[in-house]
Symmetry: C2
Subunit: 361 residues, 2 copies
């Protein structure tokens, strides 16, 4: 069992100092942020730095996330309700957003861009990603009637393609032909790296399983791309304020999920029943990952997010060799090679090259 | 058991008419041939057509070659001496070259470029590929002390990389960065497509096995690239005359191999002992493939050859599904995807785009 990754957010992520620095930047880099791929000069350099920091943070957090999951599996079965853990993640993200906002208000005062109050127009779209994720998670219960777990792991890589396609359609951003080729390679490489003797089951997936997998990939891709659209719509808007509203709806929908799925268990055994040290670590990690995803949406894009989480998957496997004596397969090496080439092609294949110039004094 | 692919050659390949047409072109397209990548206009168009025909021929012949091998395996064990079959292939290629030359002499008369007699300077380099192949085949007997058969199949893909590297070093031809990336992908994709449950053995290959595999890949790559250098050295020279001399040395070295390995069997049971209908088909196929390789060397290059044989490998698997009820694995689909993207990247990544202009009348 693995809980869904939160959509977005931010707050005292890497450290609270970083967040304040990021806040200042988000104010000064408005123009550059909204036009990342062509930004140059000092502003472009800052944006590029910011983009690198949040991407790195997301990669590291996602890797440690998977390692925590392995660790918790080793430690025994999950005894807690997954829905309460999801709610705790949303709550923690909300709390961290508020803390970060509070610090911003103290240093810069309350402005139009960082105030918490909002218009109905701004906030009305915020529940949509949460609803889409809920539908996707609901489908997840039904797909296992047609697909087994290893095959599902493989099918999840369709997310990569759906994200690319929806990114193009919804955000109307162009990828070059070479970047498209790189994206197909990323999907093939990730799948190759995950190959194991039971992977071939996926070829026996019935048509219903395929359809559901494709619908789930589209929903997941849509939620990600739509969140980016929401966050990028007002580049000068403080990301913590945006996240606060996103996470409020995340909390509401998870509350509904608790009532539907785990109401009895929560009433009888308590909200935090079965929580262990690892559970708390996982909740913390998911909250920080969610914040990192949000940062990547604000300062980079969904494509960077997909690359980041894919590279994280490979990093996890390498780290697991040392931590858990994992055995790397030839398929893993081949997949990693393909993913590496894909990352390279994505960067050289930019429609317009973005080289932050060296600072001259 | 699979006999080594001949180096190069030509003659009445696709049909004798084709060869004559090719001959005429090889005379008229001298300049274009020696500068394929930048050729344009009618000459460029002819060259491009010629390149496509020989590439297609090589791909189809290589595919059917592998299918014949599967067929012959199904039909039972090989009873014949592989060395005599190799000699027969060289002999047949030599004979076909002579027939093609004879036809050329009849139609165009004997010229400086198509006469059989040659200078010591020209012919002195011709034995080198044959010697290199012999050394490589010799090593093949020893590598199995360190590497098992499935691992060897995987390691053979190192040929792709060694050919690219030696092509760059020896022929001093440039590949763009994207084409290099495509080449790495080709190697990874071919290997992925061949993955099976026992492929992971390759990771237990001892260092001696790796060293030998690398040396063999370098020798094989060197023989290919060196042959291209020999054939391209005098673009106006008739390819059949060049092949005649190449194959003469092929015959000589295979004669030595017969004496060393199968002398007893040949004396006792006869030269053609154990030959079946399939054996003859395979010899015919190898001879024609050898000729196609030679054509590709003359009118295209080693890179095209590598792509052609890689695509043939995939084609073979697909055809085998229908012929032998083969089961395609997920790894095969992933590998094929990567190879397809590689072919695409190789063509879009050309240092200087070569678009044969549509003929205007």
């Amino acid at each position: 069992m693995e809980y869904r990754r939160g959509k977005d957010q931010e707050s005292d992520d890497i450290s609270q100092k970083d967040v304040e620095r990021l806040d200042l930047r988000s104010l000064s880099d408005t123009a550059a942020t909204s036009n990342l791929s062509t930004a140059g000069g000092p502003k472009g350099k800052n944006t590029w730095k910011l983009k690198s920091i949040v991407t790195l943070a997301l990669t590291l957090l996602t890797s440690s996330q998977a390692i925590l999951i392995v660790w918790s599996k080793r430690a025994g079965k999950y005894e807690y309700s997954v829905t309460t853990a999801n709610f705790s993640v949303e709550f923690l993200k909300c709390l961290l957003s508020l803390v970060a906002l509070y610090r911003t208000w103290n240093s810069q005062g309350v402005t139009e861009d960082n105030r918490l109050t909002t218009s109905f127009d701004e906030v009305s779209v915020y529940p949509i990603p949460a609803i889409v994720y809920m539908v996707k998670n609901l489908l997840q219960y039904y797909i296992f009637a047609y697909v087994d777990a290893p095959a599902y792991q493989i099918l999840k890589n369709l997310n990569i393609i759906s994200t690319g396609v929806l990114y193009r359609i919804i955000l109307k951003k162009k990828l070059s032909e070479i970047q498209w080729a790189a994206f197909v390679l990323l999907c093939a490489g990730c799948t190759t790296a995950q190959l194991n003797p039971s992977s071939d089951h996926v070829l026996q997936t019935p048509i219903q399983g395929w359809m559901m997998a494709i619908v789930m990939a589209l929903l997941s891709g849509f939620a990600g791309v739509y969140t980016e659209a929401i966050i990028k719509k007002r580049p000068s808007r403080n990301i913590n304020a945006q996240n606060f509203w996103l996470y409020i709806f995340g909390m509401i929908f998870n509350l509904v999920a608790i009532c539907v799925q785990d109401f009895g268990a929560v009433i009888n055994k308590g909200f935090f029943h079965g929580y262990s040290f690892i559970t708390i670590l996982m909740i913390l990690n998911h909250a920080l990952s969610g914040i990192a995803v949000s940062m990547v949406m604000k300062y980079a894009d969904n494509i960077v997010k997909v690359y980041s989480t894919s590279v994280a998957m490979l990093l996890t496997a390498v780290v697991s060799v040392f931590l858990f004596n994992f055995h790397l397969s030839l398929a893993f090496f081949l997949g990693s090679t393909v993913v590496s080439v894909s990352v390279y092609l994505h960067s050289v294949g930019k429609p317009q090259q973005h080289n932050p110039p060296a600072q001259q004094k």
